[in-house]
Amino acid sequence: MLNILDIPFTPLDVAGILTIIFLGIALFLKIQRIKQLRLEVDKLNKSLEGMDEQSKLIIRTDMELNKIQEELDKKITSLYTLQELTRAISTTLEEPQIFKRIEVERLKEIGFEKALIFLYSEKDSRFNLYLNIGYVSEDVGIVKAFIEANGSQFLNLIKIQKTISSTSAVEGFIAKETINSLFTVSAFIFSVLLPKDGDKGFLFVGTENKDTLITEGDEELVTILTNQLGQSLENARLFEKTWNVQQELEKKVEERTRELALVIEGIKKISKRKTDFVSSVSHELRTPLTSIKGYAAILLAGKLGEVPLGVRERLEKINRHSDELVHMVNDMLDISRIESGREVMKIEPYDLKIISARAADLLSAQLKDKQIELSIDIPVNASEVLIDVNQIERVFINIVGNAIKFTPVAGKIFIRAVSIGAWIQVDIADTGSGIPEEAREAIFEEFYRVDSLINQQVKGTGLGLALVKNIIEAHGGKIWVKSKLGAGATFSFTLPVK
C-alpha cells in the first residue's frame, strides 16, 4: 500500500499542490460569491420588474390625467370663446348681423373650422342658408340640395329638439358616414336653433381633423351656443316687430297730424270768413243804425212837428233798441278785431284794484237797484298786472254786469285776486242761479245763451262772454267757470304779471 508520505514530493510539487488547494478555495469562494451575486441580481431584477410594474401604473394614471387635463383645457378655452361669441351675438339686434358675428377664428377655438346655419321658412317651405364658414359656393350647393332632399329628417331633428354629433347619432337620422362625406368633415355636431317665434333651424359645425372625437362636453358647448343664438334671434325679431309697430304708429300720427292741420286750416279759413263777414256786416249795419237813431232823435225833438204821446213812446223804443243794436254791433266788431289780430293790446302795468273799483262805480246803479253787495278783495301782492286797461275794464264790467243780472235781489258778488307765479288769478263769484254743467264751456261761444227761464227774462246779446274770452286770451291768459246750479257761479281768469 502506497503511503502518501512515502511519495517523494519535490518542493515544486508541494508548491503546486498548495496552489491547487488555494485555487480550489478561491474557486469555491468565487462560486459562493457568484451565487450570492446572482441572488442579488435576481433581487435587483425583481425589484426592477416591480418598479417597471409601478412605472406602468404611473404611465396609465398619467395618461388618464393628461386626458382629463386636455379636456379641461379645451373646456376652459371653449368657454372663453363661447363667452366672447355670446357677447358678440347678443350686442346686435339685427338678425343678419347675429350670424356674421360667428367668425372662423372663434369657431376654430372650439375645435371646428366649418359651420352652416339653415333656417326653415314655413312660408316658402324650404331651408334657407344664413351662415357659411369654410365652404365654397359649389359645396354649399351640394349640401343645400342634400338638405332639401332630406328635409323631413332635418325637420324632425328640429321637432325633437336634439343635439346630435358624429359620436351620438339619432336612430333613423342620416348615417354618419353620409354626413361626413357630404359635408366633407371627419367629425360634426348638429344643434337646433329654436327661437320662440319665426323660422327655426339648425347649426352645423364640423372639422376635417381626423383626430377629433366629439365629446359630450363639445355637444353641450354647441347647444349653449345655439340657445344663445336662438335667444338673440328672438330679441332681434322682437325688436324688429316693436320697431315696425313704432314706425307704423309714427306714420299714423303723421297722417293724423296732417289731416288735423288741414282741418285747422279749414277752420281758420271759415273763422276768418266769419270774422270778415261779421266785421263787414257790422260796418254796414252801423250806417243805417246811425240814420235810424238820427231820424228818431229828430222826430223826438219835435223838429218835424208835434209828436203824439203814443208815437213818442214808440220812437223812444226805436231809440233804445237802436242803442242796444249799436252796442251789439260794437261788441261784434271788437270780437272780430281781436280774433283777426287787428286790435293791438296796449299793454301797460296797472292796478287791478283801480279797475275793479271803476267797474263797481259804473255798475253801482244796477247794484243798488237789486241791493246786491259787491265785495272786492285784491291784496297788494296780487294787484299789479300787465294789461290793456280799457279791454280788461270791459272784462270786469261784462262779468260783474252778468253777475248782477243773474243774482237775485239782496245777493252777493265777490271780486278776489290771488298771485300764482307769473300770473294773477281773478275770481268773480256770485250767489246767482248758477250755470248748468253742459253750458259751462258753450257760454264763451258767440251768441250762445243758456236755455233757462231766467235767461228768457234777462236781456243779452250772447256776445259779452265771447268778447271777454277773446280779450283774456289776447293777454295770454285763460278763462273758465265753476258753478253749481242754484248756488252761483265763479268766473276765473288769469292775467300776466310780467
Binding site: 406602468k56 398619467d62 395618461m63 386636455e70 381633423n209
Partner: protein, 394 residues
Amino acid sequence: MQVGVGVSIAKDYIEAAKEALFRAKKYITKDKIDFAIVFSTVEFAHPLFLKTISRLLGPTTIVGSSSLAVMSNQGFLKHGLVVMLISLSEKIYFNAALVEKISTKSINKAGEELAEKLLSGAKDIHRKLSVIFCDGLIKNTADLILGLQDKFGKSFPLVGASTADNPVFQKNYLYLNQEIYNDAACGILLGGNLNFGLGVRHGWKPLGKPRFVTESFRNTVYKIDSEPAVKIYEEYFARKIPELTKDLKRIAAFYPIGIYLSGKKEYLLRNLISIRNDGSLVFHGDVPVNSQIRFMIGAKDSILDATRQAASEAKQGMLEKKIDFVLVFDSVFRFMLLGRQVNKELEIIQEEFGRDTPIIGLCTCKEYAPLKIMEYSESAYSHNQAITILAVGK
C-alpha cells in the same frame, strides 16, 4: 446689428403683412434690411402675402415657414404672423437657399443640394452657423441632415426644425423671397463676425427598466429585448394595437422612448409615428440596433425646467456678448402638454434674455441641433419633444 419684430393677427393676409412690417420697421433705423425671417400660421401661406412683404421691403431676402403656431415677444399665436427684420453689422455675411420637390429625389441628395446652394454664396467667408427649416411632412429628414453634413462637415453647427403642420390642413409651406413651397427645405448660412449660443433640452424623464433594441432599420424598430417592439407599449398601456392606434396622437406626444447616450445629460427622444400590424414601431428619427432605450414621461414642471436650462445654455454660449435676437424651435408636443400654460415657456425665455430682446419662434415636429454646441465637435441630431433656443449676436 439691428433687429425688429412685428406681429399681426389681422384676418386679411395683405393687411397683416403690412401691419407686421410696419411694426418691425420701427426698430430699424438703417436704410438696408439684409434679411427677413417670416413665420406664419398656415392661413397666411399665399403667394400674394409674400409678394406684399417683398414689395414693401424691396431687395431683401425673405426666409421662413408656416406652422401650427408662431411665437414672438407677445406670446404664441394660433392665428398670426411674425416678421423679424435683420440689418446685419459689417463683417457678418449670410446666404439663403431652398431645395424643392424633395420627395422626387433622394433626401440625402436634397440635403447636399441645399448645402451646396448655401455654400455657393459664401465661399470666401468664415461660416459660423446654418439654420434650416424643413417641411414637416417630409419623412426621413435625418437623411437630409446627413446630406447637409456631408457638404458642411459633420461638426459644422447646424440648427433647424421640421415645421409642425396644422392637423386640418396637413400642409406646410416654406418661404423664400416671393415664393411659397411645399415639399421643400430652406436655410440660411451665417458667417463672419458673429456669435451664437445654443440650448437644446426636452425635460422628459426615463421611467421603467432599460431595454435594448434588438432589431431595427432606420426609424423602424422591429424588436425590443427580442420581442415585437409594440409589446413595450402594449404592456405599459395595457392595450392592444387597435386601441393604441386610436390614442396614438396622445401617446406619441406624451410618451416617447428615450435613447441613452453615454455621457449626455438627457436621453435622445424618439416619438412614435405609427404602429404597424406586424408589431413594429415607426419613430420620428432613427433608432439604431443595440440602443439602450427607456420609456419616457413628461410633466409640465420638468419640461419648463428644461426650457430654463436650454435658455441658460444658449445664453452661456454667447459668453456674455450682446444678444441681438433669439430663435426658438418649440416642439408641438410641448405645446400640447403645456396646454393653456404654453406661454410660460416664453416667460422663462424672456426672464433669461430680457423682455427687450427680439424673440421669434415656431411650433415644430422635429428639431435639429447638436446636443452640446459649445464643444464644436458634435454633429446635429434629430430631436423630438425638444425646445431649441438659438441666441445670436455680434
